[in-house]
Symmetry: C2
Subunit: 504 residues, 2 copies
Amino acid sequence: MAFPASRFASVLRIAGRRYPASRVGLRCDHPVRSFTNSPTWQIRTKEMNDDLLKDLKVNQGRLMEDIHHTCQWGTGERWGDAPTETGMTRLALSDADKAARDWFVSTTEALGCKVTVDAMGNTFAVRPGLRNDKPPTFVGSHLDTQPTGGRYDGILGVTAGVEMLRVLADNWTETEYPVGVVNWTNEEGARFPKSMVSSGVWAGDIPVETAHNLREVHPGTATMAEELKRIGYLGETPASYEAMPMAAHFELHIEQGPLLELSNKKIGVVTGVQAYKWFTINVKGRDSHTGTTDLKSRADALLTAAKLILHSHRLATANCALASTGILNLKPGSTNTVPGSVTFSLDIRSPKDSTVAKMTEHIMHDFPKIAAGEDVLDSNLGCTSGLPLDVEIVEDFSSPATNFHSDCISSVRQSAHHILGPNSHNLVMDMTSGAGHDSVYASKRCPTSMIFVPCREGVSHNPREFCKEEDCAMGARVLLQSVVRFDRMRDERRVSWKQEPYTL
Amino acid sequence: MAFPASRFASVLRIAGRRYPASRVGLRCDHPVRSFTNSPTWQIRTKEMNDDLLKDLKVNQGRLMEDIHHTCQWGTGERWGDAPTETGMTRLALSDADKAARDWFVSTTEALGCKVTVDAMGNTFAVRPGLRNDKPPTFVGSHLDTQPTGGRYDGILGVTAGVEMLRVLADNWTETEYPVGVVNWTNEEGARFPKSMVSSGVWAGDIPVETAHNLREVHPGTATMAEELKRIGYLGETPASYEAMPMAAHFELHIEQGPLLELSNKKIGVVTGVQAYKWFTINVKGRDSHTGTTDLKSRADALLTAAKLILHSHRLATANCALASTGILNLKPGSTNTVPGSVTFSLDIRSPKDSTVAKMTEHIMHDFPKIAAGEDVLDSNLGCTSGLPLDVEIVEDFSSPATNFHSDCISSVRQSAHHILGPNSHNLVMDMTSGAGHDSVYASKRCPTSMIFVPCREGVSHNPREFCKEEDCAMGARVLLQSVVRFDRMRDERRVSWKQEPYTL
């Protein structure tokens, strides 16, 4: 690891403040202690009291530079005049994604990390600690985006991880255990239609063959395995929590909803993720001519789909749940042909597994009835009865409600309150994530929690997605301190319990 | 024109029956009269009484052979076991369309026609008559199909025209005026999204530049002019009723609806075409995350589109009209993103212009209200109020109700009753066409009518579209006789009125 001249500024700044005796002699050339990761004048996380923790500040300008630098790969739709006021369109395993991955690898290697790529292209950059026989404490998120995504979803989490590595290096901080940053592959599920698929493989929930054979959405035809190979990210390490164990997983993310902004909070301590299910609905009617087929003689698959989509929304309203359709394709697709075939996606969510189960029951029960022409909650109000249609409901994906680990939640909560100071009770709130994240799968195999920061109007999966610079930096600082606190706690428990609590 | 040996069979058959004196000497070698189109032993249409007209029979097997022979180009989805039990997918100006066009040109040329291709690729095959200074009486339809179309829509009309030429040749019949068959380009509007566009240019209703610049529907990008040129059908003759005048236009077509079949009729005498309008509806909302955006904070363009499509159906029900959506595209198209943008087609029809106008008024009035979140006729029943959305309504196309010409209607009606004999009052009905046809544009510039034959269950724009062989042949026979009757009438009027009634 090279020592660029700029490091000394940090060192001097830090040296001028309240550091313990072991830090005296910082500018001398003799080794005082011999640490694994770095030269002799290091500070160990276990030596850090709360005051010293406060000094571990992220460099806001540098973090933003990393975010926007990586957004040169897959720059999307422009929404404002400033150079960074564009969205992102960086689909997983595209050339743009490869470029961002290459940056991640070279940057973390330059920061002294050992980089491992697994069979799903998940990329783990590990910075050695004192006890490298134990699994690292990880920070993770993803660099892929939606087709019309923004600059913060996923990207903030990974770049904040890189910033963590930079701050630890700047401050010559030695962690008790290794720490790492992971970039998970195809979290969005936008190109290969299974979200969080690669953390799912890592967690052992999704067979690697299933993931490798996932075919990209229309109009492409490539599989994940083909694209991993093509861009050089089909690693030899098995994609598995056994091959790459984690002591913990922390993830910083924009909220992607309006709650923090509406309540003027700065940090969301994420205690869990709501349950959700994804369905594919196939409606089969009959193609017919729009001009010659009277309404009674039609089996109009799109009219039926419209009724079903509206019904799913009514069910969501009645059950305080969410129902959304993001994809709809029809055949044959001609102005003067009534479509005989429609396929659409349905995404059902609720913080409670029981509500998702209830919604599913309603859908399974009501959709075939509506398609057959029966009236369900006034679905036929003012309509002409046509011919009966068939509907097929396929459950593609189910993610039960997730509860994060109390140790990780505590690390985040303590860090947030510590950093935000006396007024922190007004600025920090516990919350449930509405979206799925790789942390959901991570939490199946190691203690996990997440940190949310506000994003403008709650808008996400949209080019206009925006998070203020100070909020990005605040989130990154809470992330960093959470990792350090967790590292410190691991050591404390080891001493007091005579064991490493999170060995897998 | 060559004289194939097979001709003599026809001649002998015909000669053995009730032909006028001028036909005696049929087998001698001297010219008795000198006709334009054919040798000396011809029969003129003006010499044909009703009995002779009855003898002009189409060859059912040959007609079906032509239909199925041309369906080798663009064969579509299979629905049955027989070799001909497939649909068609022959988009306008595709390679398959070129092959069918080439067949049309070479076949009609071999039957003694002069073929002219105009600037829209409309292909006119004209068989000379006695008075070639006057416009031909045309039979026309189209060889292009829907992406999942059948073997009869359009194809029957053109092949019946070719069969007319064959029967006239077989029977060595001389028409008073030239007769022709026209294959109109892109009638379906399926590939280049303007139906009947090329007869529209011919009629002077659509500028040729507009038509040439029409771009094919997603995912292709070619224009009509590019594709006309590519397949060699960008003719030098202007696409215009002035450059290629018609004395009349007759079109045989499957009904594409269930009325003939339901009432056990054999021939529909088409007196007009219902009015219709095509719209493009653009709904603008906001992309947002399906998991993190509560229902109130959404501007869900697909949910709104579902309400609008359902509303258009309710309006159609209330007004005894038709409303149909055949195309719907959304963005960005990801399971976990609420779509911010939806575009869909809307096709409104009624036999009355006033009803289409009323429907249009309702749509213009109600759609923006529904998009803005207002309740219109319980459109919000059981829904959560979200954010307001914008809607843009573009009228792409308007075709007022068409009334065909009484002379052509009479020709068809007389022919149908004449052919179907004593029980014909039970087998022939007047009707209005639900679909647009090239006859709509033709009728703006010349007397026009259509002949409908039943199709199974009224199914059309569907691979399973089916018309019985005897019904195809019956329609072709009515078509042929209608043309002969019209040709005879032109001559009668010329004699009695001392003028050609339909000179343009």
